[in-house]
């Protein structure tokens, strides 16, 4: 039976499309169906929700897969149990004003690039792209623009030439006609072009000790999310829009649907993380952070597929 029916879950920016499966699982009542009462705590950022997990104030986190790798380096045993987003969902685009001079990633040299925050995944992705294109990380200046309206403002005011960001900022900028997209990891094509395969983004992860102590609870959570992914696979944009709270619609349902459609491919359909995509994620981190030694990372400890397998079997 379920060891811990009352669960606290952390997330860094719940209304973001990145975490859509979480909102859906909640709104569709799948947690309840599994006999769980989940309190969702929203944090100022993904890293803060991870800290909360390690500090013990939340039991589970919907966060970036990348965290599980980094935590191994910090000797913290964190494991993902199900994948929610198979592509990073990050978009690198340039301001319309600079569209003529910056045509590809190679032209980013010397540009002012807005990222959600220094050190965040949006920042790392651009660095990765630049390194792949033979530049060093210092060849551009990075400006943290935050995650909300301030990012839009920075672009609109011409404070930055390019941006590496997530939805809904990207959709909003597109809607405003401010943005020309260079790299789009919301789509299969875009992600394959960058990584040559999948690169897991949002996952559900726990502390290893928690998994051990509460296997049934973890199973129930995995089940709920698996069901959500399956629901999402078939849902129409209209259904999704109807399922989320109205405030999430960015003030305009049409815009929300547009944004959802753009991100649709990035949601995982089976919840699995395969070997190749793990490596791809590790590669992304070690390329940009030379302090992390790939030899010391045991990727098999980042993802525990046993719960997913059981969920699928149901």
């Amino acid at each position: 039976e379920i060891e811990k029916p009352n669960l606290t879950l952390g997330v860094g920016g719940k209304p973001l499309l990145y975490y859509l499966p979480l909102t859906l699982a909640e709104r569709l009542g799948y947690f309840k169906e599994e006999g769980l009462t989940v309190e969702i705590n929203d944090f100022g950022g993904g890293s803060k929700s991870l800290q909360a997990l390690i500090g013990g104030s939340v039991d589970a986190v919907a966060g970036a897969y990348e965290h599980t790798i980094r935590m191994q380096d910090k000797k913290q045993d964190i494991r993902a149990v199900i994948d929610l987003g198979r592509y990073p969902g990050i978009v690198v685009g340039v301001s319309k004003r600079k569209a003529d001079t910056i045509k590809s990633v190679a032209d980013l040299k010397g540009a002012k690039i807005g990222v959600t925050a220094p050190g965040s995944s949006t920042y790392i992705l651009v660095q990765y792209l630049m390194m792949k294109n033979g530049m060093s990380a210092d060849d551009a200046s990075f400006i943290g623009v935050g995650s909300g309206a301030s990012a839009v403002a920075a672009m609109q005011k011409g404070e930055i030439d390019a941006i590496s960001h997530l939805d809904p900022v990207i959709s909003k900028l597109q809607d405003m006609g401010e943005l020309k997209i260079l790299v789009d990891t919301r789509t299969t094509a875009g992600t394959e072009a960058v990584f040559g395969g999948q690169n897991p983004a949002a996952v559900l992860y726990f502390k290893e000790s928690f998994i051990k102590a509460n296997p049934n609870t973890v199973q129930a959570m995995t089940n709920a999310f698996y069901k959500t992914l399956k629901w999402l696979e078939k849902a129409t944009p209209e259904e999704v829009a109807a399922a989320v709270p109205q405030e999430y619609w960015l003030g305009d349902k049409a815009l929300y649907i547009k944004a959802f459609n753009a991100s649709r491919e990035s949601y995982s359909t089976d919840g699995n993380i395969n070997e190749a995509s793990m490596k791809s994620a590790l590669n992304l981190i070690t390329t940009t952070d030379p302090k992390i030694d790939p030899a010391k990372i045991d990727l098999s400890k980042t993802f525990d597929g046993s719960f997913l397998a059981k969920a699928k079997g149901q």
Binding site: N41, D42, G44, K48, G148, E247, Y248, L250
Partner: protein
């Protein structure tokens, strides 16, 4: 020089109306093709108002309001009591004050946003980590003022009280405390606002409820109307708390002559 209450209220409302009018015009009338206060960033006053009404009518706000209220009041009380106690202690023990002085100032300069994870680690995700954040703001504001207030005690009044034979406790009660009171209350008015800021920022950085949570949610989806509605409720809220502080102040400071600077 004293204004009639009705006239005062009228003027206050006038100020509000003028501000709202500027906001409304800035958000809806383009000036030279550009909006002064683009709706995307500022929403519109009427929208905000109707959202506020909606929040109250639908009842969703009460739970959040209650949590934030609890946090604010706790932060305010704990922070001020701490500030008063430590402020007095430092003022009365110059050696302690001299030794700890640099550390107090250092701690005061730590960005609270960065401390949030530590508070969550120690105090969990409930209200206490938010209270702690508020306390770190309130404490310093009150502390520095009480510290100075005690030092400003009139030397003659103090000497007289000591000659009367007052011990340290009696001096505190009869001299330092009443003398530092106007300093303390001055800081409390600032502190009320900061207690709320602390609570809200704490919620903003990680929580499942409260006004800061609401605002954070709204921000993530560009719901400026929601953000402004939340801020408006916050602001209205602080007036209520401040009103209580002022009542206590007027009660405790009956002995004071009318401020000299206000006489004709």
């Amino acid at each position: 020089m004293k204004l009639h209450p009705v006239k005062l209220l009228f003027l206050q409302i006038l100020v509000a109306v003028v501000v709202l009018a500027i906001w409304h015009i800035g958000a809806t009338v383009p000036i030279g093709g550009d909006y002064l206060l683009p709706e995307f960033f500022f929403s519109k006053p009427l929208d905000v108002l109707s959202r506020v009404v909606e929040l109250f009518v639908s009842g969703t706000i009460w739970k959040h309001l209650w949590i934030t209220l609890t946090e604010t009041v706790l932060a305010f009380i704990i922070g001020s009591v701490g500030g008063v106690v430590i402020g007095f202690w430092f003022a009365r023990k110059p050696v302690v004050a001299a030794v700890f002085d640099p550390y107090v100032k250092m701690v005061n300069a730590l960005p609270r946003v960065v401390l949030a994870p530590i508070f969550m680690l120690w105090l969990g995700l409930g209200i206490w980590s938010k209270v702690a954040l508020g306390v770190t703001l309130v404490f310093f504001i009150v502390f520095f003022n009480v510290y100075q207030g005690v030092k400003e005690v009139s030397p003659v009044v103090l000497a007289n009280a000591r000659m009367m034979g007052m011990n340290e406790r009696q001096l505190f009660r009869n001299v330092y405390w009443p003398s530092a009171m106007s300093w303390m209350f001055s800081s409390l008015h600032t502190a009320v606002g900061f207690a709320l800021v602390g609570a809200v920022v704490g919620e903003y950085l990680g929580s499942a409820a409260g006004l800061g949570y609401l605002i954070h949610q709204a921000e993530g989806v560009f719901d400026v109307t929601g953000v402004f509605a939340g801020m408006f409720i916050l602001a209205a809220f602080v007036l209520v708390i401040d009103w209580f502080v002022t009542r206590v102040e007027n009660r405790l400071l009956v002995w004071r002559p009318q401020a000299a600077s206000e006489q004709n």
